[in-house]
């Protein structure tokens, strides 16, 4: 069963995303900020990270850059999931190594489709 780490400071978003991802047969873990997420990745590298942009301690983009520096043998796929829907933000995320990008609000079809695109489903 693929595992997914949700990184989002919103408890509501984490709950909604967890509900959808579990219905897609993913093993789901949660982190409320980038630092906690990096520690969890050190313990176990997830198959995919669902990543918010605006969070306390470090932004999603800073997390992604930190994650890249870790040089994991099998780095996770990273899907941004954010209200930052402008082209500039999308391009910055892709340039930083994001594999996919979800613009909030999202639904089950959206997450399922993005997980298929990155090869997790």
């Amino acid at each position: 069963m693929p595992n997914c780490l949700i990184v989002d400071d919103s408890k509501v978003i984490r709950k909604v995303a967890r509900h959808i991802l579990e219905s897609l047969d993913l093993d789901v873990h949660e982190a409320q900020d980038g630092r906690e997420a990096l520690e969890m990745c050190e313990d176990q590298v997830p198959d995919v990270v669902l990543l918010d942009w605006n969070m306390p301690i470090m932004s999603g983009l800073e997390f992604l850059k930190e994650l890249s520096r870790r040089n994991f043998a099998h780095p996770p796929k990273v899907i941004f999931c954010t209200t930052e829907n402008g082209v500039d933000h999308i391009r910055a995320a892709v340039d930083a190594g994001a594999d996919e990008y979800v613009m909030k609000p999202f639904d089950r079809d959206t997450l399922e489709s993005k997980l298929q695109i990155v090869g997790v489903l």
């Binding site: 990008y101 979800v102 298929q116």
Partner: protein, 296 residues
């Protein structure tokens, strides 16, 4: 919310209307769709029930309400790269295979039942990134029975939710520009696709012959007789060796003129004939297509 008392008689009349106008049938089990899909139309016209709608159509059978009702009952469900595995097969197997067999470097594609255009534009994106087709002249003809769907397809403008279903973010960045809260497909892709309202059962204007035909999730809306007619139209417009892509779970018998690809699910190949296809022979002799029988 508009209250819609269930009226079996009115739903039956509307299902008959859909069948007469498009050849598509709605089984008793799927009649619930009628109420759901017509609710916005009722609201827009200040009508309360399906019976009201039937009476209004009867009062003005040549008026626009009839066409609007038929259009609203059609399924417009579509998304970019719907069934990703199918597009991967088209990109990695079908297009290179066709490129190796077509001498004049011209590829003609038909999306039959293209709905709101996502499938045709997805194909255009695939064509653009297929090295074997570099320098080729590729045309995509896309047709759908729904005037509303074709209007949206021609416009090439999609909501954020449309964009998120199946479209890789790299393709969004390459081919779309934001316009307000929507996204506009690039002219370079739009110029590759010709959209037209057309019923596959009376596909007079989709000339062909084509090298690749997509007709996905269309045939199962037809009863057997219309389904065979649709298959004949597809066979008529397929060049020998052309590939036909159907929806998941849709199958064709050998008598249709297509043979299932052993290695590719949902994909069929037009059987080779001793001479050019029927359509080519017709074009060569300048003979017009035979008239199509009325649907009713």
């Amino acid at each position: 919310m508009t209250k819609l008392p269930a009226s079996g008689a009115a739903a039956g009349r509307l299902a008959d209307l859909l069948s007469r106008e498009t050849g598509q049938t709605l089984s008793e089990a799927r009649r619930w769709r009628i109420e759901t899909s017509l609710r916005p139309l009722l609201r827009a016209h200040g009508l309360h029930t399906l019976d009201d709608l039937v009476r209004a159509i009867d009062r003005d059978p040549a008026g626009p309400l009839k066409a609007e009702a038929v259009d609203a009952m059609l399924n417009h469900e579509s998304s970019f790269f719907r069934d990703l595995a199918v597009f991967q097969a088209i990109e990695t197997v079908v297009l290179p295979r066709l490129a190796s067999t077509i001498a004049d470097r011209r590829l003609r594609i038909w999306c039959a039942g293209c709905s709101t255009g996502q499938e045709a534009y997805s194909l255009a994106m695939v064509v653009k990134r297929t090295p074997a087709l570099e320098g080729w002249t590729v045309s995509i003809e896309a047709s759908d029975v729904s005037a509303l769907a074709i209007a949206k397809a021609k416009q090439g403008r999609y909501s954020q939710m449309d964009m998120q279903r199946g479209l890789p973010i790299s393709e969004l960045l390459r081919w779309f520009q934001p316009v307000g809260k929507e996204w506009q497909v690039a002219d370079e892709l739009r110029q590759m696709v010709t959209f037209r309202q057309d019923n596959i059962l009376q596909a007079r204007r989709a000339c062909g012959p084509f090298d690749l035909i997509l007709c996905r999730n269309v045939l199962f809306y037809f009863p057997e007789a219309q389904r065979q007619q649709a298959c004949s139209e597809l066979a008529l417009r397929a060049r020998p060796g052309a590939h036909l892509v159907l929806g998941a779970g849709e199958m064709l018998g050998a008598e249709t003129g297509f043979t299932a690809c052993r290695d590719l699910s949902c994909i069929y190949v037009a059987q080779a004939a001793s001479g050019p296809s029927t359509l080519v022979r017709r074009a060569q002799t300048q003979a017009p297509l035979p008239p199509h029988p009325p649907l009713s």
